[in-house]
């Protein structure tokens, strides 16, 4: 009898609590792999909801680019409080829209290579692009991007298309950062080793793991996945002496979200362990904030770039189209 009464009480409080909870809602736009069951989304949602007494709603679109397009289209009427998953290739364009608000939080806990001081975008993870080799196909890694570019053309690599994929654009910028005006010649040489150019990361990586090519463009953290989940050290990232190109993924509040107190709370939460602990083994990137303990040793074994390469968002926005066109011309020959 008593238990029945208690459960009745619980039910009625729950009913009363529903409208209140409905007000305390945080809507986050992000990309699909973030919210997939393997992604950080589920853990992040659970951890934040425990401390905020609110509901987190994720809306997932295909990728970072689609994310920005969606927000641009929705404009001021967007229901997003936070947009999570843009990268530094897109932040300049994003800022131009005037749809994003300054974050107003302390960036003390933020830790990305080269430091971070932007007043709008808050990083949540980062990674370095790297060429992954299949050690069963060949054992000696290339020491530099130059070795790769000038190397034995029979040894093939799968890359992604910069027109349709973030890593693809990453390689384009990497080559540009290393070769500068000589980038065209570099691509001319490299193109003979390119087995194929895929629309996205998934297709390229599938081809690579199915043995089609001994090399693929991915991230320095990719070997950690195979080591942790498959207990395999077959796939290794190659350390290039010119340095590796950096990708930083960021989140920002929309102007609408700036009015929701939960927004600021989440951005702060994002730089701490409740969010950052989930990143390495779900997003397979490096955390950009404070974690509660050291990372899995597999991440320590990841390639540590001799130098961090990166263009500023403004440089990228100004040159991207021309550089892609240049790449197209070389690769179409």
């Amino acid at each position: 009898m008593r238990r029945q009464f208690l459960s009745l009480l619980a039910l009625s409080t729950a009913l009363v609590a529903v409208p209140a909870a409905a007000q305390d809602k945080l809507t986050i736009y992000t990309y699909e792999s973030f919210t997939s069951e393997w992604g950080p989304g589920p853990v992040v949602k659970k951890n934040f909801e425990e401390i905020c007494n609110c509901t987190v709603d994720f809306v997932a679109v295909a990728d970072g680019v689609a994310l920005l397009n969606r927000v641009k289209l929705e404009g001021k009427s967007t229901s997003a409080d936070i947009v999570l998953g843009l990268d530094t290739n897109l932040t300049h364009e994003a800022k131009e829209t005037g749809l994003f608000a300054t974050h107003g939080i302390s960036l003390d806990k933020v830790d990305v290579p080269g430091g971070w001081s932007d007043d709008t975008f808050v990083p949540f993870d980062y990674g370095y692009f790297a060429i992954i080799q299949d050690t069963e196909a060949f054992s000696t890694p290339y020491k530099s991007l130059k070795d790769l570019v000038d190397g034995y053309p029979e040894q093939k690599i799968v890359i992604q298309d910069p027109r349709t994929s973030t890593p693809g654009l990453g390689l384009l910028l990497w080559v540009k950062a290393v070769y500068g005006d000589k980038a065209i010649e570099a691509w001319e040489n490299l193109s003979s080793r390119v087995l194929t150019v895929t629309p996205g990361w998934s297709e390229a990586y599938s081809l690579f793991t199915s043995g089609e090519a001994p090399m693929v463009l991915s991230y320095t953290t990719s070997p950690a996945y195979h080591e942790i989940n498959e207990d395999s050290t077959r796939y290794k990232a190659m350390a290039f002496e010119e340095g590796h190109y950096l990708q930083v993924e960021v989140a920002a509040a929309t102007t609408k979200g700036a009015e929701n107190p939960l927004t600021k709370q989440f951005l702060e939460f994002m730089t701490g362990p409740g969010f950052q602990d989930a990143i390495p083994k779900t997003n397979w990137m490096f955390p950009a904030g404070e974690t509660s303990g050291p990372l899995n040793p597999a991440f320590d074994r990841a390639v540590k770039p001799a130098k961090t390469l990166a263009f500023s968002p403004e440089e990228i926005a100004a040159n991207r189209d021309a550089w892609i066109r240049e790449w197209l011309d070389v690769m179409s020959r």
């Binding site: 289209l73 298309d161 027109r163 193109s191 150019v197 297709e203 599938s206 199915s210």
Partner: protein, 536 residues
């Protein structure tokens, strides 16, 4: 003008209006967004565009040719041998490629002919140098033929099956050899069907996207579809997307018109037989030839499936089978595909009905009106409107309504239904027209019309092709991914979607397992439809 009061024509106009609304709405959405800045449309026309247009046309024409020509032989061989063990399995298998996501098929093909493929050593030995895989135009062609040869075969076989049994008997009695039979009986029927089949395949190849990018080997192989995708997804330049889509449609219209001109305008024989049994007419030497043709086609189509199965069974299938995410995705896929197929069938029926009603009400020597042509080939052109254009256009239209989330499944269903229409139309039309020819006067005299006629007269005679159309549409919808790019996809997490999700998080083995599962679901569907059809 009386014809416009015919309820069948009205139904057709309604169907056409629905399709027009879907496509027109998408364009309206994009154009409204592009109004501020039209510069993208003008700047799209440069030497780069010229290059990709040339490549788009070239690969599509070659793919069509390579799919259709062998299909003529295969369809003929299958028609000459109406009964042999495994025949119905082959036909079911031939319906499967449509349902397979392009990336699965590409990986399946690469597992055979890729650089590390099963045949790599043999090919290296043949060519005398290390085999580098079939990347480039050859890879695109192989994949397109894999998708379209079975399709063409099924459609041509369908056409061959409209040849009255008595005529096969006549041919046998007159002692026509295989070559004469081909020239006098088989070729005329297939030739009448060819422009339609070739047109359809041309449209499928011109819009090919993943195959071109994955197997094309680099930006040398770029199609208009890729440029449209890039314009919308990455540059978000609606003006350019509209301009490129318009160009793609215009090119297709020109090619299809040329194809129709090249095809003979056949006077269909009014007598449609109901005799089911058809004697096996082939003699020994021809039987050997036909067997070789069928085995070669079977090996070509089954090969990528077999390699998909091989990599699929290496996945942890037990875990996948008990994975609630897989269950949910399966139900979502089946549900959406079912509704899409039903809608597609409905739309196709209304168009077919209207076209045939208009044809019979006009003077035989008069040429078909624009509306009649729209009912006929016009609807087929929806295929060359990229799903990403429809999705993006409607997204823009709906964004202010605030109901974008709940409308995502509706979009998926309608776009799939409309994209499946050209297939459904091809399957239904011959039977419908034949039936109409036989029944129109009778029905007019008996005063049977409207729904009664559909229920009592027309439906029974098109039930079998209608089931085929339904199965095709369902298979097509099962493999689709295109529309939801901007919508946000949590609501419509289908099997192909789940497959991509696993692939995108390093879980390649899971993806292979899901691909296998998707294939099994499709095959089961085909068998189910076959059974329903037989008992119907």
């Amino acid at each position: 003008m009386g014809v416009y009061r015919d309820s069948r024509v009205l139904a057709g106009i309604a169907g056409l209006a629905a399709v027009g609304l879907l496509i027109g709405g998408a364009f309206a959405g994009l154009i409204s967004e592009a109004l501020d800045d039209w510069s993208g449309a003008a700047s799209a026309f440069d030497s780069y565009l010229f290059r990709i247009t040339r490549f788009t046309l070239w690969q599509a024409l070659l793919s069509t040719l390579l799919s259709v020509c062998p299909a003529i032989l295969v369809a003929r061989a299958l028609a000459r041998h109406p009964v042999f063990w495994g025949r119905s399995f082959i036909l079911r298998l031939f319906a499967l490629p449509l349902a397979v996501p392009a990336i699965v098929a590409s990986l399946g093909i690469l597992a055979l002919l890729g650089r590390a493929g099963i045949f790599a050593d043999a090919l290296a030995w043949l060519t005398g140098e290390p085999w580098q895989g079939i990347y480039g135009l050859s890879g695109i062609l192989v994949a397109h033929v894999f998708f379209n040869l079975p399709l063409a075969t099924r459609f041509l076989l369908h056409a061959l099956e409209t040849v009255p049994t008595d005529q096969w008997r006549l041919a046998a009695q007159l002692g026509m050899g295989p070559r004469t039979t081909f020239r006098l009986i088989e070729w005329p029927v297939m030739r009448a069907a060819l422009p339609g089949v070739a047109g359809l395949i041309f449209m499928l190849c011109i819009t090919s996207f993943t195959i071109v990018l994955t197997l094309g080997g680099g930006p040398r192989a770029t199609t208009l579809e890729v440029a449209i995708y890039q314009a919308l997804r990455f540059d978000f330049d609606p003006a350019r997307a509209v301009a490129l889509t318009a160009l793609q449609i215009a090119l297709t219209v020109v090619v299809v018109i040329l194809l129709v001109r090249a095809g003979a305008d056949m006077v269909a024989d009014a007598n449609m037989p109901v005799a089911r049994r058809r004697p096996n007419m082939a003699r020994a030497p021809e039987t050997v030839f036909n067997a070789l043709v069928i085995i070669a086609a079977l090996a070509f189509v089954a090969g990528p499936f077999v390699s998909t199965i091989i990599s699929g069974v290496q996945a942890d299938l037990v875990r996948l089978a008990s994975d609630p995410a897989v269950h949910r995705a399966t139900l979502t896929s089946l549900g959406l595909a079912f509704i899409a197929a039903a809608l597609s069938l409905l739309l196709s029926l209304s168009l077919t009905m209207a076209r045939s009603a208009m044809e019979h009400s006009r003077n035989r020597t008069a040429s078909p009106s624009f509306l009649e042509r729209l009912f006929d080939t016009g609807a087929g052109f929806v295929l060359v409107v990229p799903p990403v254009v429809v999705g993006a256009g409607w997204f823009i239209l709906l964004i202010d309504s605030g109901s974008v989330f709940s409308l995502a499944p509706v979009m998926v269903v309608t776009v799939n239904a409309v994209m499946a229409m050209p297939f459904a139309l091809r399957a239904i039309r011959p039977a419908w027209d034949g039936a109409a020819e036989r029944h129109d006067r009778l029905c007019a005299s008996l005063g049977i019309s409207g729904f009664n006629r559909l229920r009592l007269i027309d439906w029974p005679s098109i039930r079998r092709p209608a089931f085929t159309a339904f199965a095709f549409a369902m298979a097509l919808s099962l493999g689709d991914l295109g529309v939801i790019a901007l919508f946000g996809s949590d609501v419509v997490k289908t099997l192909p979607y789940l497959l991509f999700e696993r692939m995108g998080s390093y879980r390649t083995a899971d993806a292979a397992g899901i691909a296998l599962f998707l294939g099994i679901v499709c095959l089961a569907l085909m068998m189910l439809v076959d059974r329903t059809r037989r008992s119907a």
